[in-house]
Symmetry: C2
Subunit: 367 residues, 2 copies
DNA sequence: CTGAAAGCGCTAACAT
DNA sequence: ATGTTAGCGCTTTCAG
């Protein structure tokens, strides 16, 4: 039952990790040279360099991060605070962010704030105490004090997941760089698609839009698209929690209840989980999707294509955001002045959950 | 369009965060006393203590983590490496872990390893360089070198998500403490429930079981339960990726194809995502669940109860694991010698996706 | 109860 | 090209 334990490389009782001094001593050079070699900074003789490298490897040397940070006043650490790890897209994006960071020699400090800007601010301060070289935040809506604090400490910030403040009605503090996609444009495209299908009454199911400029921008975009075409504003239902299918179900029920002929013929959900709930509720209400009601989502999570009907949704470039954010940030920290990449693209993925409204064949609006 | 920017607390040009020395100077005491007060270590006069505290608050003092780490040889940081952030249960558990850690003054360093033990080892070493005070790992299956490294460095390890090695056939290295639940028992309970319903041929859909003792233990439990009742071993299908509904779909198809009368009457999936895929495939194959086929999952993610039919599954105590792991770890690090909590409980949640097999009324096996 | 002094391991001028 | 000299900001004996 019990496999014999493999031989373990047990350390001597009073063992302690090798230091740069140990290497210097063993190589007959000074600690400074060791530092120079290990950091590729300053000129060093090819022979000594090689000797140092060899000994470092033999001694299994790994620099002490704390000492490095203290002496160089750079921690090679970056902090990220995201609203929630339960949003799979954030999890995916942040994982890429961390991986790229690590390839470039940086370490991620991660925290979540439950969509609460005050908690976010507290996390930011904790990260500052840990000496992070930069901070990555989601979206453009943050406490002025938090941003002010960062600015005072000269800690660079990178905003992600949004891009320009267009469509967002939040106070923008100064102008932090932002890498993401245009939430307003993406939602607008989806709304226009629905209108072109012939829909005239749209419903919106959004998670909470408090402290969430992405969601707010999307909702605004729908309203704007409708207004542009001279149509009535959308019925909007927000849910207390954003990633529960039960919330999506309840929201659709609320949206359709007692509306009779005025009920929306299409419902845009601001994420796929809510859309899934809406699909379930529609089915329970005896509504055929897409014949009686069109439903769209946002995110294009793995299951979206497998739902029945398959979900029309907006695919978000989570991985691309993580990659781009990390490389831009590292480039910046290392003194290169990388241009901010253009907004990444979100793509409308049309599937079976949407189509023309009942008794109204698709007829693209002229112009 | 552009909201007027609120006044920002901008720092003076050459500003730098307050140090313990600054406080000492302002309070007319020594840095040592400041340290003693801020760490509640050693006796200090009530008056001086108060003065120091007041000044520290005024100066908005936050200790420099790197300096603290270097001087005290403790980083108040713990590392965790998990297989994947895409498993929502890990995300939930780790979030609790991080929160409890933070309440107790510790910071989390998080990494993921894609179910690859070599990557895990690399991450562990990187964390050691960062001076983590302890490491938290998922499951009991790890590289011997990784565990040996940790042991040599005297870095405590806490295993989670598993509990005893019972049912796991992996080599256990020494004996690391483990906080989690009994995967074998949980799967066994689900299997026995199915057998009691009258099923005689079970199928299993598992994500990869390589480097995954939890999944392996579950699969073993099913086989053991069947053997115990003198029944044929289960048909087992493993999938290359573990959290894709498409994999679950494909797996069920493979499981049922061309089996005719020998096809399993119940399929146990080792996570809810795979179960969801299996449900979809069953529907496409014209199989009525639970009438023609019973399907069970593992995890009880949010959507499980909303599926139709609602999914019978095993609820995993992810949050409890995160909480318990963090408090136990901190207690240990602070010198208390907390007893390891007993295994947490996973609960079989019976819903509509399971029932008796076709033409065989439920008939609990005698004894 | 409190201060002085000595580093923790590394980097960064400044010499040579 | 390499060594020397100072610390980075904090904790920690050790005296008093």
């Amino acid at each position: 039952m019990k496999a014999s334990a493999p031989a373990l490389p047990v350390a001597a009782p009073g063992w302690r990790p090798a230091t740069a001094q140990d290497i210097a001593r063993a190589a007959g050079v000074s600690a400074a040279s060791v530092s120079r070699v290990l950091n590729n900074t300053g000129r060093v003789g090819a022979l000594t360099r090689e000797r140092i490298l060899k000994i470092a490897a033999e001694l299994n040397y790994a620099p002490n991060a704390a000492a490095r940070t203290l002496a160089s006043r750079r921690s090679r650490t970056v902090g990220a605070v995201i609203p929630s790890l339960e949003n799979l897209n954030f999890a995916i994006g942040i994982d890429r962010f961390r991986k790229v960071l690590r390839e470039r020699g940086y370490t991620l400090l991660l925290a979540s704030c439950d969509y609460d800007n005050d908690k976010e601010e507290a996390q930011i301060k904790a990260m500052a105490a840990h000496g992070v070289d930069a901070v990555m935040l989601i979206g453009a809506s943050h406490n002025a004090q938090a941003l002010g604090f960062l600015q005072a400490r000269r800690i660079p910030v990178l905003l992600t997941w949004s891009c320009s403040p267009e469509g967002a009605n939040f106070p923008m503090i100064g102008s932090a760089p932002c890498i993401g996609f245009d939430n307003f444009a993406a939602a607008r495209q989806a709304a226009l698609y629905l209108l072109d299908q012939g829909h005239r009454r749209l419903g919106v199911i959004a998670g909470t839009t408090v402290n969430n400029d992405r969601s707010a921008a999307r909702v605004n975009a729908v309203a704007a698209a409708l207004a542009e075409r001279g149509l009535a504003p959308p019925r909007i239902v927000t849910t207390p929690a954003s990633y529960l299918v039960s919330e999506g179900k309840a929201a659709l029920q609320r949206l359709m209840q007692g509306k009779g002929r005025d009920a929306p013929t299409a419902v845009m959900c601001m994420n796929d989980i809510l859309a899934y709930g809406a699909l379930l509720a529609a089915s329970e209400l005896g509504l055929d999707v897409p014949h009686d009601l069109s439903v769209t989502g946002f995110d294009d999570l793995d299951f979206a294509a497998s739902l029945s009907p398959a979900l029309t949704t907006v695919r978000i470039p989570a991985e691309a955001i993580g990659d781009a954010a990390a490389s831009w940030l590292v480039d910046s920290l290392e003194g290169r002045q990388p241009p901010l990449p253009p907004p990444l693209s979100a793509e409308l993925v049309i599937r079976a959950s949407s189509g023309p409204p009942p008794r109204a064949p698709a007829q693209p609006t002229p112009r």
